[in-house]
Amino acid sequence: MRGWISTGIRLPLAALAVALAAYPLILGNAYSFRLATLAGIYALLAIGYQLIFGYAGALSLAQGCFFGIGAYVSAILASRLGWSFLLSFPLSLAAPVALAAVVALPVLRLESHYLALATLGVAQVALLAAVNWQGLTGGANGIAGIPPIAVFGARVPDGWPLMLVVWLFAAAGAFLAWHLMRGLYGRMFHLMRENDIAATALGIDRARLRLAAFLFSALYAGAAGALYAHSVGVISPGVLEFPVMVTCLAMAVIGGSARVSGAILGAVLLVHLPEWFRVLDNSYLIAYGAALLVVIIVAPWGVIGAVERLRARLLPELPPEPPAPRMTTLRAHAGSGGAPLLEVEGLAIAFGGLRALDGITFSVRPGELLGLIGPNGSGKTTLVNVVSGLYRPSAGRIRFAGQDITDTAAYRRARLGLARSFQSTSLVPEMTALDSVALGRAALEGTGLASALASGWRCAHLARARGHAMALLDALGIAAFAERRCGELPHGIKRRVEIARALALEPRLLILDEPAAGLGTGEAADLRGRLQRLAQGGLTLLIIEHNMPFLMPLAERMICLDDGRLIAEGKPAEIRGHPRVIEAYLGRTAWAGVRE
C-alpha cells in the first residue's frame, strides 16, 4: 500500500483531496457547503465526460443534455409524481442512458466535428422539447419544489450532510471509472484514441469501446443531473442549455483529460473560480472561456498532466520490476503445407477514378515467407490495407484460412490470425513497450467491459498479457526496454516492439510493411535473422520491402507490383533478372549494357 500511494502523483493528489475536504469544513458556512456540493455534482458529470471525451477521444457535446435529462426525470418523478429517491434515482440514470443508446447508432459512427455537431443537435432538440412540452416540463418556468434526497423517510439535510452524500456519489463514480480504466481495457482505449487503425489491426472493436464509453458518460451525467435537481430543488430549461456543456468540457480539459483526477480537480477549480474572481460578477463564463483557451494553447494536458510532468522531472521514479515472461506459442497450423493460407483473387480498388490496384491475384502458402516489392506508388501498401480490411475492394475476393473474408471487418480479420505492422510507427509515445505489446493480447484475453468490471485488485488480464509480452520482447532481444516509454525508444527498437505486438496476437499470417525502413545495416541483419527464425518456427510471413539487400536473401518467393498490377512472380533470383521488374525500377533504355 505504501508503494502504491507513492507512485505517480497519488501523494499530492491525496493531499489535495484532504485539503479540499477540509476547506468548506473550516469555512463552515452554508455557502461554502453549497459550492462544495455543486463541485461534487460537476465532478461526477465531468468524470463521466472523461470516459467519452478523455478516454474514447470522442468530442461529444451531449453530456450537458444527458445531465439535463437526468435532472428533469428526477424533478418530474419526485416533484410531480411524488416518487421516492430510491425509485426516481435509478430512472434518472436509465433515461439518459436509453437516449444515448438510441442516438448512438447513427451518431457514434461519425468522426470528430461530425460527432460534435450531431450530438449538439440532439441536445438542441432536448432543449426545445423541455421549453415547449409545458404539460410535462413546466415550460420555461421549469419545475419547483423538488424534495431533498431522502432514504426511507430520512431526509438528508442541507449543509455538510448533503455535501457528504454528493461527494460519496462522486467518490463511488471516480472509483468505478478508475477501476474500469486501470487495466488492459483502459489501455485499449488509449491506443484506440491515439491510433484507431493500429487498434483495429490488433482485433480491438472500436465501435464497441466507443459505445460503452458513451453509455457510461450518459449514466454519470444522469446521476449528476438527479443529484443537482434534489440539491437545488428547482430546475429550468437552463440545465439543458449549452453553458452546462461548456462548463463540463472546460472542467475536463483544464483538469486534464483522460484522468479521473483531472475531472475532479477541474470541477472543484471551476466551481470556485467565479468566487475567486468576484469582479467578473455574472460573466464568470468569460473566465471559463479564457481559462479553457489558455490551457488548450499552453498546457493541453491540463493541470494534472502538468503536475505529472513536474513530478517526473523533479522526482524521477525507478521503473517497476518487469514481470516474469510467460511462454507464448504460435498458433497451430491446421493442415499446413496443403491449401494456401491467404488467397487473393482479382483484387481491384480505385480512388477517385484512379485505379490503385487492378486484377491482383496471388496466394501465400502456410509457412511461406513471401516478399512483396514494387516501386514507389505501385500499390504495395494499398494491397496490404485491402487484405487487412482497412479498404473495401471494388472487385475480387480474399480468402484466409479457407474462409472468405472479403466482407469481414478489419478487427475480426485480426482475431482470425491476420496480423500486420505499419510503415510509420504506430506506437503510443506515452505507453511503455511492455504495455504496447500486451495490447496485442487484448483480443485473445477476451478483454472487455465485463471483464474490466469484474477484475480484481491485481488486474489479471493485464498481468497475464504482460507476461506474454515479456516473453515476446525477450524473443526479439529487447527485454531491457520493457518499461521504457515508446516515445523515447530508438527507431530500430520501436520497429521490433511493433513486430512483438503483432506477434502477441498469435497470428497465422504476419504482414510486415517495410520492417527494415530506417534501420542501419547491422540492425537490418539482426532483424532478418529473427524473422528467419520466426519463419522456421512455422509462422507465415508476407513482407513488403524496398530494401532489396534485406529482402532478397530472406524471401522464398517474391511478387512485384507496378502501377497497381502484378508484373512478376518467382524466386528472388528470377525476380532480380526479370525484364519487367528491371524496367519498373530502372527505366527502359540504358540497361541493355549492364545486364549480367
Binding site: T425, H546, N547, F550, D563, L586, G587, W591, V594
Partner: protein
Amino acid sequence: MSEPLLVLQGLSVAYGGIAALEEVTLTVAQGEAVALLGANGAGKSTLVKAVMGLVAPSAGRMRFAGVDLRHLSTLARARLGLGYCPEGRRVFPGLSVRENLEVAARVDKTTRRRRLDAVLAVFPALAARADARAWQLSGGQQQMLALGRALMGQPRLLLLDEPSLGLSPILADELLEKVREIAKAGTAVLLAEQNAAKALAVAGRAYLLEVGRVVREGASAVLAESAEVRKAFLGG
C-alpha cells in the same frame, strides 16, 4: 571561379531519430542539370525538401546564390529563386490550369501574362486545356502543369522531385524531354529520379544516394555504365 549556385555541405536530416540523410555534400552550378539517383527511401525527396525548407536539417550548411539558407523560411527561399515541383505533382486541384500557373507568378499583371504565354507555348497540351480544372487532367498533364507552375516564378534553380513517378514510359520520356529543354535554356535543374536511365539522359552530372549517403558521383556518361547504380536499385 565563383561559388556554384547551390552548395550543400555535410547536410544531415533525421526524422524522429532516424537518419534520412547523412553528411551529404553536393553542388549545382549556374545553368547545370544534376540528377539525384537512388532507390525508394534513399533520401532523394528529403534532400529536395531540405533545400526548399520543408524539412529542417540536423546538421550541415546550405547556400544558394551566395546566401545562407539556414534561417530562411520556405517562402523566402521561393522568392530567392528556388522553383519547386513536388513529388506527387500536387497541383491545386480546384484551380484551372491557367490559374495554377498564374498563382505561382508573384509579379505584375503584364509580366504574369507574358510568362503565362511563354509557359503555355512550351506545353501545348496545357494550352489546349487551359480552362479545365487541374483535377480533370491526366497524370501526365498534371505533371506538366506542376513543372510549368514551377517555371512561372522564373527560378534560377528548379527542384524536381520524382517527376516521372506514376507516368507511363512514353509520358515520362516526353516530360524529361521538357526538362532537358528547360536545362538547355539555362535554368539550373536538380532532378531527383528513381528512373535512373532517363535521369542520366537528361543530366550532365549525377549523384547516387544509398540509405541517406552519397555513394557515387560523377558525369552521367560514366555512371550510366556503372554496375553500382544497378546494384543500388536491385540489391545486386
